[in-house]
């Protein structure tokens, strides 16, 4: 806990402690005071024929006094709530203590009253039967009697069944208009020539991309909230890059771009580890913070740990005449979580 927490918290903690102590003491006093004569029930075997019913009227003045006191407490707290709300413009902690204190005082009053003030009774009630054979039989007969005299029963029942099924289907059909087509699941804002910009809209120059750093890129002039928009851009030295043959020209100057959305469950991948000294630590990798799927940017986004079912989709990059990074093409597979019709990578 920080130093700022101490002052109001310790104040409230002390207040709370006083409250609890007072109520405990009060209840303990009530317990000592009253005497509830108990029947000689003892520990009988169940089924030994003992009648457990009883009625005891406590008439305990101390308990009644305690109830009254608790009700007064409740009133004080409730009044305090109004005061705090109006005068102190509602400090959350004090308001909470006021309301909580009022309700707990009332609760204590009810419980003390319910256990030590009002008559304490143990009664027996019969459960009654649930299955009444006679009534059930009569009910079934009455229902069936409604079909008395109908001769073409089978035909009517069959027609009714068809009508019911058709009506249910009709009722469910408007659901179809709620959803869009599935084509949009394959689309992202990235296409050949779209420029990579940062979250402020500033375009990335290829020269700026440093080894050992990582960058979040978004498509220029497109919706940044779109699922496929976010990219991770890193630069790796040649010794860490082992891309499959078809992707050799996807990484100009060792600059690689991948979808920022994890193909497991859709979280943004925001962990990147790059070793200061590779021989004693890990190789460069992205990790997703949700379930810790780990992908190697140097190997086409290959998964090395975690539950993701496919590799991280890679975006081919190119550098335009002005030195800016642009997408060389759209994604060659779908980004985001897998589903029945997801387009997986070919290689």
């Amino acid at each position: 806990m920080s130093a700022d927490d101490d002052k109001p918290i310790s104040r409230l903690a002390r207040l709370l402690g006083v409250l609890v102590a007072a109520r405990t003491a009060a209840r303990a006093a009530a317990n000592r005071g009253h005497s509830v004569p108990r029947d000689a029930g003892g520990t009988e075997h169940p089924g030994s024929g003992i009648d457990p019913s009883k009625r005891v009227v406590p008439s305990d003045r101390r308990a009644e006094g305690l109830v009254a006191l608790l009700l007064v407490f409740a009133a004080v707290f409730a009044f305090a709530f109004t005061v705090i709300y109006v005068v102190l413009s509602g400090d959350t902690q004090l308001l909470g203590v006021a309301v909580g204190g009022a309700l707990l005082s009332l609760a204590a009053a009810c419980i003390v009253a319910g256990k030590f003030v009002v008559p304490q009774e143990t009664a027996i009630e019969d459960r009654g039967r649930l299955l009444d054979e006679e009534q059930t039989g009569e009910a079934v007969e009455m229902i069936e009697a409604g079909g008395e005299g109908i001769s073409r029963r089978a035909m009517l029942v069959g027609a009714g069944g068809v009508a019911g099924a058709a009506l249910l289907t009709a009722a469910a059909t408007p659901l179809a208009s709620l959803g869009p087509t599935l084509k949009s699941l394959h689309e992202t804002p990235w296409a050949r020539g779209v420029r990579l910009v940062d979250d402020q809209g500033r375009p990335y120059l290829a020269d700026e991309i440093q080894i050992g750093s990582f960058y979040t890129a978004l498509p220029e002039n497109k919706d940044p909230e779109s699922f496929g928009a976010g990219l991770l851009v890193v630069r790796l030295p040649a010794e860490f890059i082992h891309l499959p043959a078809p992707r050799r020209d996807w990484a100009p100057y060792g600059i690689l771009a991948y979808s920022k959305i994890c193909p497991h469950a859709g979280c943004a991948i925001s962990l990147y580890r790059y070793p200061t000294y590779a021989p004693t630590s890990e190789q460069p990798a992205f990790t997703c913070p949700c379930h810790y799927s780990t992908f190697l940017p140097g190997e086409g986004g290959r998964l090395v740990f975690g539950p993701a079912g496919r590799a991280l989709p890679q975006l081919p990059l190119m550098i335009d005449s002005g030195g800016y990074l642009r997408a060389a093409a759209g994604f060659h597979e779908d980004i985001g979580p897998s589903w029945w019709g997801v387009h997986r990578a070919q290689s």
Binding site: M1, S2, A3, D4, D5, I9, R38, D39, G41, G42, T43, P52, K54, T92, Q93, G96, A107, I111, G114, K115, T122, D199, E208, Q210, I211, G212, S213, F214, Y215, T216, P237, E239, F240, A268, I269, S270, L271, Y272, R273, Y274, P275, T276, Y277, A278, P279, T280, S281, E282, Q283, A285, T287, P289, Y292, T294, L296, V304, F305, G306
Partner: protein, 300 residues
């Protein structure tokens, strides 16, 4: 007291024998696994890290680090540490006794063990030493924050000595110049993925990520520009000086976050919240239920 203790020691257990045995087995297993499962520092999760292969030929000497600190952008403030021949001499002595076994007598590093320190500059030296991350017991261990092995004058001496081998000037950050909201946005985008949104730390695969509650502004600036251990580094194009000041300001702010709702329960989210709901909230209500209701073996 002794009698009570002896009585506790020899008291017959109420726990049935079979349950006791099962508990013992489970606890023993946990103990063994706990001892055996040292954090696999430096070990990979299926594919080996390996030394960076060179294009034929012997390893160059010195044994270069895989990434080097980013310099401050032109015109950006740097921190200058004290420097003098006496200080360098002292630094030389300290270095030989504490660092040279891994980093080499001539700062050239040891292949497979420690990188060269030539040209790292003052920033990394100040960072690693003032946070107690170096000297490191085992080369494959993760450098974690601890109490510094050197006093401030000794650290200055080592900075003077190692800095004499060249390298960029140490970066610096002034939180007072930063903007809190800008710092929060920049931290969220670049840092929260590892360090947690309120700088409470976390993990990645095979490394612990520190909470930043003890980091000073100077250490923050140094870490951002150099990227210690597995942390990436960020140059002035990505995080300019104003953003760096702002990030430092935000990180320092996280030491006393705005807990308007009361006790912040460590600001790490739903795990402590769930514990409070069960072990304070529900537990209190179960106690109330016990007070209201009867118990099974009480006389009727």
């Amino acid at each position: 007291m002794r009698r009570v203790f002896l009585r506790w020691l020899t008291h017959r257990s109420r726990i049935p024998p079979a349950l006791r045995l099962s508990l013992a087995v489970v606890l023993a297993t946990m103990a063994i696994v706990g001892i055996a499962a040292e954090p696999s520092r430096g070990q990979s999760d299926g594919s080996s890290a390996g030394a960076p292969p060179t294009a034929g030929g012997p390893l160059p000497e010195p044994d270069s680090p895989t990434k080097t600190p980013e310099p401050q952008g032109p015109g950006n403030p740097t921190k200058s540490f004290p420097d003098s021949p006496a200080l360098r001499a002292q630094g030389f002595t300290l270095y030989q006794s504490s660092c040279s076994s891994c980093h080499g007598i001539a700062l050239q590093g040891t292949p497979g063990t420690a990188p060269s320190l030539r040209g790292v500059g003052a920033g990394p030296v100040d960072f690693y030493l003032s946070t107690g991350r170096m000297p490191l017991e085992q080369p494959r261990e993760e450098p974690l924050r601890g109490s510094p092995a050197f006093t401030r004058p000794q650290i200055d001496a080592l900075i003077a000595y190692i800095g004499s081998f060249g390298g960029p000037a140490a970066p610096t950050a002034n939180p007072a110049d930063g903007n809190l909201a800008l710092g929060f946005r920049a931290f969220t985008l670049n840092c929260a993925g590892c360090h947690q949104i309120a700088a409470r730390g976390g993990i990645t695969v095979n490394a612990q990520i520190p909470d930043l509650q003890e980091a000073t502004a100077q250490q923050i600036a140094e870490a951002v520009r150099m990227g210690p251990y597995l942390m990436p580094h960020f140059d002035s194009n990505l995080i300019d000086q104003h953003e760096l000041d702002s990030i430092a300001r935000y990180v320092l702010w996280t030491r006393h976050p705005y807990n308007a709702g009361g006790w912040g329960i460590y600001n790490i989210g739903p795990i402590p919240e769930g514990m409070v709901a069960w072990f304070i909230g529900l537990a209190a209500l179960v106690i109330v239920a016990r007070l209201i209701g009867e118990r099974m073996d009480e006389p009727v």
